[in-house]
C-alpha cells in the first residue's frame, strides 16, 4: 500500500514549505514533492496600484530578498516609463545588488550551511548551528558575521536604514552616492576579501568528507538559466537571459526581457502556489533547469576579477566534462560569488561615473508593458507588469528564483531520500506498524533539509533562526489516514 510522509515546518506554518514523500508498496520512495504556499493573492493585491509603488510593494511583500525585488521591479518600471536610466543610477543599482549578494550568501553559507559542512551532517543537532561553529571554529563564525554585516551596511549606506524603499525607484535611484561613503566601504574591503578567501580554502579542504552527499544531493543533469554577461562573465543586473543545456551548450539567449515567455513555460501545481517554470520546447521533465550560484558559474567562462577567476578555475575541476551537476556545490559557488562580488564592489567604487549626481530619469507611464530581470542571490528573478492608460497596474507576473528551482528541488529531494532512507527507515511505515512511533533518523531529516538548503530557497523556514528548520515528519497512508508524526526532537532521541 502506498503511503505518504509529509515533512512540515511545525513552528511556522503560514506560507512555508512541506515535503511529502510518496512510498510504494515496498516502502521505497517513489516520488517527492515540496509544497510551497507563497505569493497568494499577490497579483490581485497589486492590481489598480500606481506603478511607482511596485518596487516598494514587491520588496515589502517578499521580505527575504527585498533588494532583488526592488531591482527587478524598478527595471520593469523603467520599461513602463520607457526611459534609459542615467549611467550612475545603473552603477549604483549594480553596487546595491552586489551588497545584497554578499550579505545573502554569507547568511546562507555561514549561518545556515556551515554547521553541516564544518561539523558534519550527523553531528549532535544541539551543536549543529552557528553557536556550535563559533565554539569549534571561532574564526569562521567571525568571518561569517563580518561578511554579512559588510553586505548589510553597504545596502544601508546606499539605500538608507532598513532598506528605505524609495532609494531604488522607477527611472533610477533617488540619491547619488557620496565619495565619503565610497571611501568608507573601500577601506573595509581588503579584510572582507581575506575572510572570504580563507573560508573558500576551508570548504575546499572538507569537500572530500561529503562524497556521498555530493553524489546524491540533487546530482543530475539539468539546464542552467542565468543572465549572460559580456565575454562569458557572470552578470547580475542586466543582460540577455540565457539557458544552457546539461552539457553547457546554449539553448537560447534572449536579449529582450519581455520575451522570456517565449522560452519559459510555467507549470501550475494544484497543491502549491509556487509556479514551476521549465524550458518550453522540452516540457517540464526534460526542460527542467536550475538557477542561482551554481547555474551562474556553470554558465560563465570567466569572472573577470582576479581572485574569483582563480577560484572559478578550481571549481571547474570538479567536473571533467561540462557543468558541475551536484547541487551540493551551490555552497562552493556561493563562496566564489562572495569573492567576485567584493571585487566588483571595489571596481565600481573606483569608477568616477559611480559618483555622478544625475541618478534619476523622470517620466510618466509611456509603455503598456514592462519586464525586469535581474539575478537575485538565489537566481534569476523576473517581474513582468502591464499597466492601463492611467499607469495603474493591470497585470503582474513574477517568477522568483525558488520557482525556477522548484522542479530541480523536487528531483533533488527524491534523489536524496532514495539514497539516504534505507529499508530500516521504511519498515516503520509498514501498515502493521500502527502503535509504535515511527523512528526516522534525525540525520535523515537533516539531509532532506540540507538538500533544500543547497538551493537557499526563499522560504522563511529555510532561514530559521539557528539554522535548523523546524521539521516534523507526518506519516500518512495513501488514503490520508494519519499514522504518526516525528519531530526533530523525537528523531534525535532515536539516534
Amino acid at each position: 500500500m502506498a503511503t505518504t510522509i509529509s515533512i512540515d515546518p511545525v513552528t511556522r506554518i503560514e506560507g512555508h514549505a512541506r515535503i511529502s514523500l510518496y512510498l510504494d508498496e515496498n516502502h521505497r520512495v517513489s516520488d517527492c514533492r515540496l509544497h510551497v504556499t507563497q505569493f497568494r493573492g499577490f497579483e490581485a493585491f497589486c492590481r489598480g496600484r500606481p506603478l511607482e509603488e511596485m518596487p516598494a510593494l514587491t520588496a515589502r511583500t517578499c521580505g527575504i530578498c527585498p533588494v532583488s525585488h526592488l531591482l527587478a521591479s524598478a527595471k520593469a518600471c523603467d520599461e513602463l516609463l520607457a526611459v534609459r536610466i542615467p549611467p550612475a543610477a545603473e552603477l549604483l543599482r549594480r553596487l546595491l545588488n552586489y551588497g545584497q549578494l554578499v550579505q545573502s550568501h554569507a547568511l546562507s553559507f555561514f549561518h545556515l550551511a556551515s554547521p553541516d559542512l564544518l561539523l558534519g551532517m550527523d553531528a549532535d543537532p544541539g551543536q549543529r548551528n552557528l553557536f556550535g561553529v563559533a565554539a569549534a571554529m571561532p574564526e569562521v563564525a567571525r568571518d561569517g558575521i563580518a561578511l554579512r554585516r559588510f553586505g548589510q551596511q553597504l545596502i544601508q549606506r546606499l539605500a538608507g536604514k532598513r532598506i528605505h524603499p524609495a532609494w531604488v525607484v522607477a527611472g533610477g535611484v533617488s540619491r547619488p552616492l557620496e565619495r565619503k561613503t565610497g571611501s568608507i566601504i573601500l577601506a573595509e574591503l581588503p579584510a572582507m576579501l581575506t575572510a572570504a578567501r580563507n573560508n573558500l580554502a576551508r570548504l575546499q579542504g572538507v569537500l572530500e568528507n561529503f562524497q556521498a552527499e555530493i553524489a546524491s544531493f540533487a546530482n543530475f543533469p539539468s539546464g542552467y538559466l542565468a543572465l549572460a554577461g559580456t565575454g562569458g562573465r557572470p552578470e547580475y543586473y542586466d543582460g540577455p537571459l540565457r539557458l544552457l543545456d546539461q552539457r553547457g551548450q546554449e539553448l537560447f539567449s534572449e536579449p529582450v526581457a519581455a520575451n522570456y515567455g517565449h522560452h519559459l513555460a510555467e507549470k501550475v501545481e494544484p497543491d502549491s502556489y509556487l509556479k514551476s517554470p521549465y524550458y518550453r520546447p522540452l516540457g517540464p521533465e526534460e526542460g527542467m533547469y536550475r538557477v542561482g550560484p551554481l547555474a551562474r558559474l556553470n554558465a560563465a567562462t570567466a569572472c573577470g576579477t582576479p581572485t574569483a577567476d582563480e577560484a572559478l578555475a578550481a571549481f571547474r575541476e570538479l567536473s571533467s566534462n561540462g557543468p558541475v551537476a551536484s547541487s551540493f556545490h551551490y555552497h562552493y559557488a556561493r563562496l566564489i560569488e562572495i569573492i567576485h562580488a567584493l571585487e566588483k564592489i571595489e571596481e565600481l567604487l573606483g569608477e568616477e561615473a559611480t559618483y555622478d549626481c544625475r541618478v534619476r530619469a523622470t517620466a510618466g507611464a509611456n509603455a503598456p508593458e514592462g519586464t525586469g530581470i535581474c539575478e537575485a542571490p538565489r537566481g534569476t528573478l523576473i517581474h513582468h507588469y502591464r499597466i492601463d492608460e492611467q499607469g495603474l497596474i493591470s497585470g503582474v507576473n513574477m517568477i522568483i528564483a525558488t520557482g525556477h528551482n522548484n522542479l530541480a528541488m523536487n528531483r533533488g529531494l527524491l534523489q536524496a531520500s532514495r539514497a539516504f532512507i534505507d529499508d530500516g527507515d521504511m519498515a516503520l511505515v509498514a501498515p502493521t506498524d500502527q502503535a509504535a512511533p515511527p523512528a526516522i533518523r534525525e540525520g535523515l531529516l537533516n539531509r532532506l533539509e540540507a538538500v533544500i538548503r543547497c538551493y537557499d530557497p526563499c522560504l522563511s523556514c529555510s532561514t530559521h533562526a539557528l539554522g535548523q528548520m523546524p521539521l516534523a515528519v507526518e506519516l500518512r497512508r495513501n488514503s490520508g489516514e494519519f499514522i504518526g508524526r516525528v519531530t526533530r526532537e523525537m528523531a534525535a532521541n532515536h539516534d
Binding site: G48, R49, P50, E52, E53, P55, A56, L57, R60, H164, P165, A166, V169, A170, S174, T362, A363, G364, Q390, G391, L392
Partner: protein, 237 residues
Amino acid sequence: MSGGRVITLTIDDRDCGAREEQTILEVARENGIFIPTLCHLGGLHPVGACRICIVDVEGIARPQPACVTRPVEGMRVATDSPGLRRQRRLILELMLAEGNHVCSVCVVNGHCELQELALQLGVDHLELPALYPRREVDASHPRFSLDRNRCVLCTRCVRVCSEIEGAHTWDVMGRGLASTVISDLNQPWGEAESCTTCGKCVQVCPTGALFDKGKAPGEMRKRHSFLPLLTAMREEE
C-alpha cells in the same frame, strides 16, 4: 484685528480671554494649549468633519468639536482626559479601518498628518476589524492622482478648491460608508473641466490620498505654507 465682545472662559482651568467670533480651538492655541486636529487647516473655514478636536464643556453631556464651537462667557473647557483620549483614538481607528492604509508603500510615509496623529494618540494597531474596501485610484489627471483608499473625508481639498482657488472641482458624494470625494459631476479628475491644475488640493490633503504623479513611496511632502499668505493678502485687498 476685528472687534467683537470680549469673553472670559477657562480652558484646562486656565483663565482665557476670547472674542466671540473665535473658536475654542483658536483660543486654546493662542494660549499655548494643544488640541489635536486633522480636518482643520488655518486659512480654510472650519467644518468639524473629523471630530478629532473634541473637548469637554462643563454642562454639556457630549464632547464638542473645538474647531467649530464658539466660546461663551464663563464656559469651562477641558481639552484632555482619559475619556477624550479614548474617544479620539476610537475616531482615528474608525478612519483607518474604513480605508486601506499601507504606510510602508504610501507616497507620504513619514510625512503624513494622519500617521503623525496616530503616533500622537498612540494608535499603533487596530482593535476594530478593518473593512478593506476596494476603492479605485483615479490617475486620469496628467499631474496628480487620487487614491481614495487613503482619503479620510476631511474635505480640505473641497474647501481649498472652492474657497481659495474658486474652482470648486471637488465635492463629497454619497452617505456614510459610501461617501467619497468626487471631481465635477463624478467624472474622472482628468476630465473635470473646472480643475485648473493648480495643485492646492494636493498640498493641503493631510494624507497620501492626493499626490503628485511619479513620486515613489515616502517621497511626497506636502507644503501648505502658501495658505495663510494667500488668505492674509486677500484680507488686505
